[in-house]
Symmetry: C2
Subunit: 292 residues, 2 copies
Amino acid sequence: MRIGALEAGGTKMVCAVGDETGAIFERESFPTLTPDETLPVLTGWFAERGVEALGIGAFGPTGVDPASATFGDILETPKVAWRGCHLRQAFVDALGVPVGYDTDVNVACLGEATFGDSKGLGDLVYVTIGTGVGAGVILGGRLLHGMLHPEAGHMLVTRVAGDNGPCHCPSHACCLEGMAAGPSLQERWGKPAVELADKPEVWEIEADYLAQMCANLVLVYSPRRIILGGGVMHQEQLYPLVRKKTVDYLGGYITAPELADIDSYIVAPSLNDNQGAMGALELGRRALLAEA
Amino acid sequence: MRIGALEAGGTKMVCAVGDETGAIFERESFPTLTPDETLPVLTGWFAERGVEALGIGAFGPTGVDPASATFGDILETPKVAWRGCHLRQAFVDALGVPVGYDTDVNVACLGEATFGDSKGLGDLVYVTIGTGVGAGVILGGRLLHGMLHPEAGHMLVTRVAGDNGPCHCPSHACCLEGMAAGPSLQERWGKPAVELADKPEVWEIEADYLAQMCANLVLVYSPRRIILGGGVMHQEQLYPLVRKKTVDYLGGYITAPELADIDSYIVAPSLNDNQGAMGALELGRRALLAEA
């Protein structure tokens, strides 16, 4: 199979071609301008390469319910030019091949569950902590959608004692993304995360918010593993801190064999930041099978 | 069909006989003593009545994964006599009929999704707020289990300004059950909930915690409806307060048609406190079909 993969982000669009084993043959990035400017570039790129199917992981909020009239559309995004864009349909029309569609984070979760160390786990949460915080979720082997799709990155958190930083989310007084995404870190400390690596106080606070999230993810989804990815998690000193604080927050309440080994329960992505593209390949494969 | 339904609780065991339409023919309660004392009474009760199948909704934590060695067992409960009890197996052995098994709250959620106003919704959360707080969850039409089962009643919450009450949970410094279940209400105000009905300050604080939970449930599960039941919710003045505060906490971030009508999004149970028994009947029906 020759499958296309599109990671549709708010700042860049990453196009790739690969196959059903997750192998990626070619990849190219384009800036996210307006739909009128960007979509023809993307559809042209895939058309030239003759893919049999396409998988799209899109920024949200977006319609992921195939039964809904807004399936494949970008919804109420702050990126105004993209509101109401029929993203999936543009590729269906231009390429005439099966097109699978889900959120960027669900697709990354699918990549890890299909090709990564979490293969076969069935109950898995993938969180990216970067310019925003997003969570992709697989439960009982299936991607979670619901009414819209999970937006667990905006869960309410409790302000950490001693943290006087602002909440960077325009909608919420104190939510995870507002307190723990890259822009909040930068605003709290006056520098980007990458320049703060040697300041333990930065990562103590950051890890506390992420641990509040992880504890709640355990309590709510009961996943068999939590994968933490994204730019902020390139600060690898965060992992042991988040693990310890998550255990503290849970207070021994949940006992399960998976959780007993916290080092293999809260982990980094295993696919070298290819989880999004690889998940999109799997989504494309599924779309091809479903229409075969 | 003649189906048995057992609501296995920490203080009482409610046995019922009914059919696949949710009709309940007979019901009787027994105190929860030790397994040695109580189980023979229960198995005898169902054996005398000749049921073709049984559904059990059990207090947790309990094993709900049919693939696990602990399926149908009571796990690390504070009720020490019941730890490790092979609850489901006792009924399989004594009755020789198919036995469906899940958590009490998943079963209540199933009752509402099968026989109640939420029939056919597919993505549904049922929360009981009583002596504890528990959540049953159906996503994509299936009961959520995961590694263990949801324990969303213990999600971390932020202390409400002006609330000096203690957290009543032995495991968590500030979790929903610890701050909002019946015993916490009683400890905060010195009287049981039912004697506090005319004190608005009581319900403002209570509604705030429940709204923090509801906002997080929306963000995490993206359900099409949230049902709030249990003894504390008999204080019906809570519903409008919880609805308003949930909308406030969400801050307009999630837009979905279901959520736009908050009065039909956060609702009371529709089955007159029969949702647990009726869900257990459905669980028994499914077990019978699965083994047929």
